[in-house]
Symmetry: C3
Subunit: 307 residues, 3 copies
């Protein structure tokens, strides 16, 4: 089967079959990163531009390693070095990059919808590596791969997503993807961090963490963005942590086989206790490993799938 | 034919035959970037250092992609990470880079003449990617390739270059190159932006844009450097734009088959109206595409031409 | 022979036989950088991450070129783009990088011991590219390779190391390495820059430069860190230079065949006069060339030595 899409913009744009194809393809690439020679010639002669207008280490590095293991040429552009600082519009930067004939542009941008605009404007494939508080589909896909590996299925599971739901693109992409695959999703956090009408996305809302985790197969913690703390709706670390930190006491209220996820980077002792982050129920590092495989799968399906 | 030069420092150092060789070679590389496998093994095992002391996205990216499509190893060094911040002289940085045995150093530097100094000091090839207000020969070469593609010839054409002629390395390199190839060049801009004695370079001067464009085959707009606006000679955007913005009204005074160029990044609505920048007469994106091909040609002629 | 080590953390962790193996291997790689095709397939499919939390051009570039000439995939991460700025601990960054399955992580870090912590935590190889004022083993190894090339041996030579001994990781790594290989080391500098008890490392101390250089086969100058000048123990440039600058007058007190080294970047006229830095007795640029070879040897011995 083939992915009949030019771009990966969000979970919203993907079907169940497409998600399954991506996860299956990622499974097959997981093995490449375990070899002694971690390289296949699949994308030789293809150019992947990592265009990161918002800073990121882990996502950029993950895409760069994914591209290199597929033998693509990878080029990094970051905000600080980009023409954007000279006042060029995103439109003009996009058309300029297009004219250099890359095959795929991976974009992270602070503005929701920036990847979609890029995708409409250029003929090459675009992958959304995070746009504002909107979507982060490659994170959701790697999370779903991790869940499927550990639990065998996604459909029928109960997933509790805990934290600042309102401002999290990770939450949003996971809610869309997980519900589409048949999981039950409960979101939980302080009232100010739960969007009104979130139930319309098909999720259950809880304001009590112990209730939210009680029947969960997976607890997915979100990163609290400490950089937002001067905003008025934001509680103090201490206050937040008291009610919404995943620690041993909380996890003991959950099922014995519950597993724990976090997109990283983690704030130890704020949204997750070190004991849980490093414990046997934590999938955090598996998520990172799966991230490289999911990104290899997407680069392959978009740029090399036809061969 | 072979390029018997160690370096590409400026249009001033190139002969007519050398320009023709470079443009012919670039034509042959244009096709590589259109292939599914955009890579040839020509420069395998060669090292190209992109040493950008002045920030730039498009030129650095263009050189990096050019190097990678030729299978060279490319290494980027930018000002902020360089030893220059520790007070090392350019001379010492140059000798240090030389000692690592690269094949080509591409340098962009704020000081006119920096690439020439580098070239005198090291045995490897140096390409000037822009030095102060002095020269930007790879831009002029890609402009000339674009003109030759579209008009069949360069000699005999009339080219109007409009904007801040005095501070533009793009203007300077194009004036030298275009007049050498037999084109007639008219420069046009506010009096403070036209260097005294510019006629000595063999160009005609006009202070009225409509007059300048009236017999032009090509109108080459320059980027207004908004960052210089606090300098006293600089008019306001609005004032500049009123007299020197290329819009539909102005272009209607030109020949019907006139074509429009701009080195980018463009300031929409200041030196060029969006309608013209995006219109059918605009060659702006062809220039970008040709930039990769010209840089491939130069890397090839300097580092691999003998094979 | 094979290096039976996972990591290169410091000269302190290496034996005489291991140093000899590394230098012999580096000798054999020197030739690769002199070829027309400067590339061997040895590390194809291996991933090397250059993780530079402290800025550096020459060391990062040297490692990057070394990796590329061995056909490894190289990925650069610098402090400014890293998750560290989001408050992630080094431990979590390390585990994250580990989960992406690189083969070698090269780390430069402002904190002494950071590479050792990294090495304990992850299964992949770690190379210390400089940790605080602690060690800089690849610099010491390239210095030792340079000495051995020029003098035929290391054992039995007298080496004078001059400058801020107390704060120099270059001095520390060289003292450990050179004394282990049987050289006599004299350290010299202002009293405030000589650690108490330094004699315990087996070196002789001198506070007079002319005395220190009088019987030296090699004079190794250290970089004065001008950025530290507002610290109270630091003399002014002028004062320092008067007593500890290596100039012609000083070198005339040394043996006629004495050779001069400096790790760079040099402060001309402060710790070394231009005449000496650029003179026939200077090995400074040979050190840079040898740096690439030593780093190729280390990457090879750690990641590819078994094949």
């Amino acid at each position: 089967m083939k992915l009949s899409k030019k771009d990966i913009l969000g979970m919203k744009e993907l079907s169940r079959d497409e998600v399954t194809l991506i996860l299956d393809t990622a499974e097959s690439f997981l093995e490449v990163s375990m070899r002694k020679i971690k390289k296949v010639p699949t994308l030789r002669g293809k150019t992947v531009i990592n265009f990161f207008v918002e800073a990121s280490t882990r996502t950029r590095t993950s895409f760069e390693i994914a591209g290199k293991r597929l033998s693509a040429d990878t080029v990094n552009i970051s905000a600080s070095t980009s023409s954007l600082v000279k006042g060029e519009t995103l439109t003009d930067t996009a058309k300029t990059l297009e004219a250099m004939n890359p095959d795929i542009i991976v974009i992270r941008h602070g503005a929701a919808g920036a990847p979609h605009m890029l995708a409409r404007m250029i003929k090459q494939s675009v992958i959304n590596a995070g746009d504002g508080a909107h979507e982060h589909p490659t994170q959701a896909l790697l999370d779903m791969l991790t869940i499927r590996q550990e639990k065998g299925v996604i459909g029928g599971l109960t997933i509790a997503i805990i934290g600042d739901i309102a401002h999290s693109r990770v939450a949003r992409s996971n809610i869309i993807g997980l519900t589409m695959m048949g999981a039950r999703v409960t979101v939980c956090g302080p009232a100010m961090m739960i969007p009104r009408d979130i139930e319309k996305l098909g999720v259950h809302v809880s304001h009590h963490m112990e209730e939210a985790v009680s029947d969960a197969d997976i607890i997915m913690m979100l990163r609290i963005q400490l950089e937002r703390q001067n905003e008025s709706f934001f509680p103090s670390d201490r206050e937040y942590s008291r009610y919404y930190c995943l620690d041993r006491a909380t996890i003991e209220r959950a099922k014995p086989d519950v597993l724990v996820m976090h997109p990283g980077p983690i704030n130890r002792g704020i949204e997750i206790s070190p004991e849980i982050a490093d414990g046997t129920q934590s999938l955090i590092l598996k998520q990172v490993t799966n991230g490289v495989a999911v990104r290899m799968a997407l680069l392959y399906l978009l740029a090399g799938g036809e061969e």
